[in-house]
Each structure stands twice: as structure tokens, then as C-alpha cells.
Amino acid sequence: MDTMIPYIQIQAEPIDSSDKVKQADEFQPPPDCGGVCYFEGVIRNHNHGKKVHYLEYEAYEDLAYKELKRIAHEAAEKFDVKKISIIHRVGRLEIGDTAVSIRVATHHRREAFESCQYIIDSLKVRVPIWKKEVYLDGCHEWTQCTHS
């Protein structure tokens, strides 16, 4: 029986502004887990050859929460994940900011890597969250996920 309840959060507040060690400590893997995988999606300064100034993320929040929960439960079932945390920011993000943080805990390392990848790959094509890139030349564009 799947009793894992994923921690899902969509927030404007920075994910990593406060004590990163404290955040890591708060994700306590269950005692039967030997593999913990963290992924952070970080804002980079370029895309498709253009120089990025900043990004704005927007979510259809009700449905984004629902779909993130579905993805988390799928990952839990496929990879026997015991604990999942997904946090996605919305609003304006600067270069170097963390846009999404995913944490998983599994018995063994292979499932930790694979489930973490499954969650971010699924999120990027399914969840109703959009990113607008604002470039140094003043142009902006609502992007589409085209690469991994």
C-alpha cells in the first residue's frame, strides 16, 4: 500500500535563501533508506544563444499541485520511493536562483537517481507552470521545454 505523502509546495519565496544545511536536515530520510537524491533546477544566464537577464514563472496553481502529486505518486510506485519533496518557485527569479528543488529517498541509490530524473522530466512536460525569459536586449519570450 502506498502510504507515502509527498511534500509539494509552489511558492514565491526563495527556496535557498535561508540555511541550506537546515533545509537538508529537514528532509530526514526514513531509517530504511540508503539513497537520497537531490535535484535543483537553477536559473542560468543563457538560452538558445541569448543572454538572459531574469525569468518570471507563472503557475495554474490548483492544477499544478494536482499534477505534481500525481507525478510524485507515479514515481513512488515505479521506483519504490519512500519520501518525496518537490518545491517550485513562481514570480521573478534572477540568474543563480533555484527554480525547482526535488528530493527523494529510496532504499538503494539506483532508484533514487531514476526517480529524481523521472520527476523532473515529467514536471517539465506535464505541469501547468510557464516561464518567461527576459533577455538583456529587452526582448522576452514564453519558452517551451525543448531539451533536457
Partner: protein, 82 residues
């Protein structure tokens, strides 16, 4: 019948609104797709219908979903989270 439409991202920019209520004749039995195509024609959305997913009353729905009085319909352009 009145239908609540919500727009996000590039579609909100194109329409110039976050949301609106539109009137439809209930006997026309409009689908989500048909409503999108009507609004696309009216406002010149750049997206083709096959690029859009639909949500009705808070969850994904097929393009063929029939829209009823009071429903909330959201057009979901290609996403780019993460």
C-alpha cells in the same frame, strides 16, 4: 449559458485578460476545442489547437469535453516549468 475562461502565460498576453465569461447557446453543445477555435479566430492566438491542452473545472480534460453552463475552462499552452 455562461462559461468562465482563464488564460495563462502567452495566451493571457495575447488576449490581454486573465479571465473572462463568455456566452454560448447551450444547444450548440460546445466542446473545449470548439471554444478555443472560436476565440483563436476572434483574437488571433498564435497557437494551433493541437498545441493546447484543456482543463475543465480544475483538472485536465480532453479537447472533446462538452462544456456546460458555469464551467471553468482553461487553455494550457505548452508548459515550461522546472
Amino acid at each position: 449559458m455562461k462559461i468562465h475562461i482563464q488564460y495563462f502565460a502567452a495566451l493571457r498576453d495575447a488576449r490581454g485578460l486573465k479571465e473572462e465569461w463568455i456566452e454560448k447557446d447551450p444547444s450548440s453543445n460546445p466542446s473545449a476545442l470548439a471554444i478555443f477555435q472560436q476565440l483563436k479566430t476572434e483574437y488571433g492566438f498564435a497557437y494551433d489547437a493541437n498545441q493546447i491542452r484543456f482543463a475543465v473545472n480544475g483538472d485536465f480534460a480532453p479537447s472533446t469535453a462538452l462544456i456546460k453552463d458555469g464551467d471553468t475552462l482553461v487553455f494550457i499552452p505548452p508548459v515550461s516549468g522546472g
